[in-house]
């Protein structure tokens, strides 16, 4: 576990020294969500109805945007080779990297999204639902995106390819995340949605670290 903690701390420290990387992702999220009312029109009812989908899609794109570099720097400077040789499981290293990514993107996005929801005229419950579903759902996005990032290491057209691989796999998370806010809008509880999102995140947690580790091994070969 010390390796896990050390890797996590290292990744967080790297981000801490260059906060610009995170800020760009959050700025992208804000700008992308703001563009939708400009494109669709300022009608309040319509915006409140589609707010959940917009916030979730924008969060998904923002998370993917930041994933391209998740393993790339380690791959280029040789740190990945050291992780492959390390005496502790590569699966844990993959998990640490994804956790670090979630802390610096998923978590801020979950905090920021309710604020953006205010611009769309979401109700109090709706804002809560946006924040909570993103909090529970984004770990799955970090893991799925982590797999796509590991698979596309050193590939041609890496960034676009990463999105093509990750987006279909993110569909269940998106459906239940945005769906939760929709059922709040018609006055129902969203606990079921939250529970299913949690289940999706746990399923990703139980399977994807192995897939990511396998992808990293074949990248290092």
């Amino acid at each position: 576990m010390t390796g896990f903690g050390a890797l996590l701390a290292r990744d967080l420290r790297l981000v801490w020294r260059r906060p610009g990387d995170v800020m760009v992702v959050l700025a992208f999220f804000v700008v992308a969500t703001v563009l939708f009312p400009l494109g669709i029109g300022p009608e309040t009812n319509l915006l409140a109805r589609i707010a959940a989908g917009i916030l979730w899609c924008a969060a998904l794109f923002a998370a993917l945007l930041s994933l391209e570099r998740l393993f790339a720097a380690d791959y280029e400077d040789g740190a990945l080779d050291l992780l492959l040789l390390a005496p502790w499981p590569l699966e844990l290293a993959a998990l640490a990297k994804c956790l670090a990514h979630w802390i610096v993107t998923g978590l801020p996005l979950a905090l920021l999204a309710p604020l953006m929801g205010l611009l769309f005229g979401l109700s109090g419950d709706g804002l809560l639902a946006v924040g909570l579903t993103l909090l529970v759902g984004t770990p799955a996005l970090s893991l799925i995106g982590g797999l796509a990032a590991a698979l596309t290491l050193g590939a041609r057209r890496g960034g676009a390819l990463l999105a093509l691989l990750a987006l279909p796999l993110c569909v269940p998370t998106l459906i239940f995340g945005a769906g939760a806010v929709e059922v709040v809008a018609i006055g129902e509880g969203f606990l079921t949605h939250l529970a299913i999102l949690g289940a999706l995140a746990l399923l990703s947690l139980a399977t994807l670290p192995w897939a990511i580790a396998a992808a990293l091994r074949q990248a290092g070969e």
């Binding site: 797999l147 698979l151 050193g154 590939a155 279909p168 769906g179 897939a211 990248a219």
Partner: protein, 239 residues
């Protein structure tokens, strides 16, 4: 030398496939001829769908075969990752575009069926959406396996993707079903209602057999080409 060892097994496969391909091609042509005759001439119009039921004879087998194709990709991926079977990589590379074309034909014929029956080319029906996502999974597999200069890396990456994808397919199906009931309840017509009349079932099954044979022929043909291509690459590396 590693490359010679890799080719040992595919070479045997290649001889086998060259022996069976002519016979299989003839069988495919015959089955297609019989199937098309049954589907377009012999079968009566459906009492509910009218003449448009003839689209189903293409649409439904394409759907079956595109799902079977993804299962095949996952099985090939597993045999590449677990047993390092060299042929599996080549066959997966050959099969992915075939499966994608079957998925595309399924989607397009579905749209052409939906226009007269539902009044629209596309509805966000759960089954349609799942098929569209399956098509995207195919595209991802094809793009990933061809994204590397070192084709063996692409093979292994695509194999991992196929395995993750096949685990995810039921989850995607489940969530899309759930999502669809939220957005637009019912109004989905099931093929032929609760039971399918033999006059419809026979052409459907013959067409399914014909398209299955076509799938197999195309995969064998393309696998042969992939084996030759790998030999060519190995020869160019040696220069």
């Amino acid at each position: 030398m590693a490359s010679l060892h890799v080719l040992a097994n595919p070479a045997r496969f290649r001889r086998f496939s060259q022996r069976v391909l002519p016979a299989l091609s003839v069988a495919t042509a015959l089955a297609l001829a019989v199937g098309l005759w049954l589907a377009l001439v012999e079968s009566p119009p459906d009492y509910q769908q009218g003449e448009t039921v003839r689209i189903m004879f293409l649409h439904v087998p394409s759907a079956w075969l595109s799902m079977m194709g993804y299962a095949l990709l996952a099985a090939l991926g597993a045999s590449l990752l677990v047993w390092r079977h060299p042929l599996a990589a080549l066959m997966a590379r050959a099969a992915a575009p075939v499966g994608a074309v079957f998925a595309a034909v399924c989607l397009l014929t579905g749209a052409l069926w939906g226009r007269p029956m539902w009044g629209t080319y596309w509805v966000w029906d759960a089954r349609l959406t799942s098929m569209l996502l399956l098509f995207f999974l195919y595209l991802g597999h094809i793009a990933l396996s061809r994204a590397y200069d070192d084709s063996e890396r692409g093979d292994r990456a695509a194999a991992i993707l196929a395995l993750v994808g096949v685990i995810n397919l039921p989850v995607i199906k489940f969530s899309v079903d759930w999502w669809n009931t939220l957005h637009q309840p019912a109004s989905v017509m099931k093929l032929g209602g609760p039971s399918i009349d033999p006059s419809i079932l026979t052409p459907l099954l013959v067409m399914a057999l014909a398209l299955l044979l076509l799938f197999v022929v195309l995969v064998l043909l393309r696998t042969e080409t992939e084996i030759d291509r790998r030999r060519l690459e190995a020869a160019e590396m040696a220069l």
